[in-house]
């Protein structure tokens, strides 16, 4: 039974790992014996990651919107560890506004950071995973990618896009021992949700049967499960972790 959840000796890349959900994912993977490369947009963020990972991995600055930055971190992982078993596409931003007021830049940057980054990184890791006939790609979507949310047409479009990407890629590479899945968090206690207005929070709260915020570790637990050998037959799936807020 225990072998079903054993991840010892594997190597993971977790984007957006300096805080919030990404940090919890990195920490929980480390707790399972995984070596983690965590990324942040700034050098300071990367250093913070290195310090909490200690000997279990390293923080690296990465711009998920830049091809050369992605190529460079993948080359670094290849040279340093010689393998990559788990990719967690977690990095994301919000630029909320009603569509009537939304700037094209706000649309472009959210789509580039939250959706196109998944294309860049997944494509980059595939060759190695295909050769080794093993891999896990886990994309962090969001409950609002399914339900929609006023003020977030860009974010919701990107997060729904991630689900479609996941299902398609899962079908392309299932026969090679690589699974591609999503975890869709609901309302989780992070800096990103702290940025919501009081009105937005109240509206969301009244719709959560669990009557509380989720913890970042509760997202990380779903990610660890999907990364584990026991989840080898789950692919193209989205696990919703939202306290009952949306049941789909």
């Amino acid at each position: 039974m225990s072998e079903l959840f054993k991840l010892t000796g594997q190597v993971a890349l977790v984007t957006g790992a300096s805080r919030g959900i990404g940090k919890a994912i990195a920490e929980q993977l480390v707790a399972q014996g995984v070596t983690v490369v965590g990324t942040a947009t700034t050098t300071a963020g990367a250093e913070a990651i290195s310090s909490y990972l200690g000997e279990h991995g390293v923080g690296v600055a990465l711009d998920v919107t830049a091809d050369e930055s992605v190529a460079s971190i993948l080359a670094f992982i290849d040279e340093t560890y010689g393998q990559l078993d788990i990719l967690v596409n977690n990095a994301g931003i919000t630029k909320d506004n009603l569509l009537m007021r939304m700037k094209e830049d706000d649309w472009d940057s959210v789509l580039d950071t939250n959706l196109k980054s998944v294309f860049r990184l997944s494509k980059g890791v595939l060759r190695g995973m295909m050769k080794r006939r093993h891999g896990r790609i886990i994309n962090i979507s969001s409950v609002v990618g399914t339900t929609g949310n006023p003020g977030q047409v860009n974010y919701c479009a990107a997060k729904a896009g991630v689900v479609g990407f996941t299902k398609s890629l899962a079908q392309e590479i299932a026969a090679r021992g690589i699974t591609v899945n999503c975890v869709a968090p609901g309302f989780i206690d992070t800096d990103m949700t702290k940025a919501l207005t009081e009105d937005q929070k109240q509206a969301i709260f009244s719709n959560i049967p669990a009557a509380r915020l989720g913890k970042p570790e509760e997202i990380a637990a779903a990610v660890v499960f999907l990364a584990s050998p026991g989840a080898a037959y789950i692919t193209g799936e989205t696990i919703h972790v939202n306290g009952g807020m949306a049941m789909v």
Partner: protein
């Protein structure tokens, strides 16, 4: 180092999991060697790595038989 033809055949045997004697010059990857589209992508990637060359998509599409792959590599390989 063995010649290009042998190296190409060896990669085809490894990538497609077929027997060496099945890899005849006129054999079609798809019809005779049971390759699907992803197998062919992997085969092209393996050829690119072995011969240090990049095969453009429009050229890769034409590589339907063993002989076509050998000919392509003969004309384009860097080493």
């Amino acid at each position: 180092m063995s010649n290009i033809e042998d190296r190409v055949k060896k990669i085809i045997v490894e990538q497609l999991g077929v027997k060496e004697e099945e890899v005849k010059p006129e054999a079609s990857f798809e019809n005779d060697l049971g390759a699907d589209s992803l197998d062919i992508v992997e085969l092209v990637m393996a050829l690119e790595e072995e011969f240090g060359t990049e095969i453009p998509d429009e050229e890769a599409e034409k590589l339907k038989t063993v002989q076509a792959a050998i000919d392509y590599v003969n004309n384009h390989a860097n080493d």
